[in-house]
């Protein structure tokens, strides 16, 4: 369970969110500029909130009152963004192995192979990031994020470069794996079809404020009706 109460200023933008996310799979839905990426960066520990606290399964990750701010690498949290950020000087396999520094070479290789297989990128292991496509890079970035066995996975519109069929298949396989490995996942998207594709809890974010939190069908009913109306209009 992720328990958060956060306030953060970024230029003229103010984010204020307070909620408890209990579902294994939560979608943060909102238009561009709603604060989705800001929220994910705060959860990942890449940015510091001005005030508030974050707790993952009763373990405090950040608490401005006590000055606690666990660095990103100590939160058991992974983030995959639209920008894959693969290390260009490392092979695909070395990229996936980067977060497995504490494992011995044999365990590391086994883990890398398993993660690449999960995302359907085994054939890319010895390739360089510059020689693979955008969709392949997103799969590799996902494998790299999952390799250290995070407790919390943050996905910031990570499947934008995948075509629909590939994205659906990967999402299905990913959800099954995450569920088996008890990884709580938060997916940020501005695409309502992404949000409706899963039976997730949806957090509706608008202008830095939490507007609604609940089942997708309920929270996104208005969005679904709006799209249906648009599609029905000649």
């Amino acid at each position: 369970m992720l328990d958060l109460a956060l306030g953060a200023h970024r230029g003229g933008f103010h984010l204020q969110v307070e909620c408890k996310l209990t579902s294994d799979w939560t979608v943060i839905f909102g238009p561009s500029g709603a604060g989705k990426t800001t929220l994910l960066r705060l959860l990942a520990g890449l940015d510091r909130p001005e005030q508030g606290r974050i707790a993952l399964d009763d373990r405090l990750l950040a608490d401005t009152a006590s000055g606690l701010h666990l660095p990103p690498g100590r939160r058991q949290t992974s983030l995959v963004a639209q920008q894959t950020a693969l290390f260009p000087h490392l092979t695909v396999a070395a990229n996936v192995a980067y977060g497995l520094h504490s494992l011995n070479a044999a365990s590391r290789s086994t883990r890398v192979a398993a993660m690449l297989e999960l995302v359907g990128a085994s054939a890319l292991a010895l390739r360089w990031p510059e020689s693979i496509s955008g969709g392949e890079a997103q799969r590799v970035a996902l494998a790299r994020a999952l390799a250290p066995a995070p407790r919390l996975l943050l996905l910031d519109e990570p499947f934008s470069a995948l075509d629909g069929v590939a994205s659906d298949a990967l999402l299905e396989r990913l959800q099954r794996w995450l569920s088996e490995n008890r990884v709580q996942t938060i997916l940020a998207t501005h695409d309502v079809t992404d949000a409706l594709a899963t039976s997730a809890e949806v957090l509706l974010l608008r202008e830095g404020r939490l507007v609604a939190l609940g089942p997708a069908a309920q929270v996104l009913a208005a969005e679904r009706d709006r799209i249906a109306q648009r599609l029905g209009t000649p």
């Binding site: 260009p88 070395a94 977060g99």
Partner: protein
């Protein structure tokens, strides 16, 4: 040709460059990755020797390291001799004087590394040391090369600080630049021409090295340190 001065210049430049790298790499990383409000002041301090006249810096160091200050007396007690007019004194002066020439290329190089790569490494558990060694240095290796070459050449060609702080002691503080100055003062232009040609040749070679690496990058001929899992 004064081979003793030539060897001394190379020795001074090598020692200075190694010390500068040990200081400049972490300093540049702190300047790029740090969040402290004092970073601007720290960067200004590290850049100060670039705009300070060498003779002024040499004079300050001569006074600071001389017997009139507690620092100078302390060092003299520790080493058994004063730092001024010694090879070690020249190293101290050269490190301070060439510091910006090592720090600035590294700051530019580290800052040019995509911040999303730094974020990714931090998320994957990289601490500051691993971040610098496995991400910043490999991706800014041409800046590292530039820092090495500039520090080395700047030290080889340094005159004002060397003359002020070291004087002209054969085998201890007489570098090629001092030799060139002496040759000109003695109207031995032929010898001065040879000494100047050596200094010029070293500079041209070093710049050719830097630009050849830059060219190979532009043409996509180098990915750098390839590491396999």
């Amino acid at each position: 040709m004064d081979w003793q001065a030539f060897a001394l210049s190379l020795r001074l430049a090598t020692v200075t460059t190694l010390i500068l790298l040990a200081i400049a790499v972490p300093l540049a990383a702190v300047l790029v990755l740090g969040r402290s409000r004092w970073l601007a002041a720290l960067e200004a301090l590290a850049t100060l020797p670039m705009v300070l006249p060498p003779t002024v810096l040499g004079f300050f160091l001569l006074v600071l390291l001389g017997p009139r200050t507690a620092v100078g007396r302390g060092i003299a007690t520790l080493l058994g001799h004063p730092l001024a007019f010694s090879f070690e004194g020249l190293v101290v002066g050269s490190v301070i004087y060439s510091l910006p020439f090592a720090v600035q290329p590294l700051v530019a190089g580290f800052a040019s590394v995509d911040s999303s790569l730094v974020d990714a490494a931090r998320l994957l558990g990289a601490g500051p040391l691993r971040l610098v060694s496995s991400i910043l240095i490999p991706l800014a290796r041409r800046s590292l090369l530039a820092a090495v070459v500039l520090s080395f050449l700047h030290t080889v060609g340094e005159f004002g600080v060397v003359l002020m702080l070291g004087g002209d002691i054969p085998g201890a503080t007489r570098t090629l630049s001092i030799v060139l100055y002496n040759q000109v003062e003695n109207f031995d232009y032929a010898a001065a021409g040879r000494t100047a040609a050596i200094l010029l040749g070293m500079s041209v070679l070093a710049l050719a090295l830097i630009y050849s690496k830059t060219q190979s990058r532009a043409s996509g001929g180098s990915r750098g340190s390839k590491r396999h899992a």
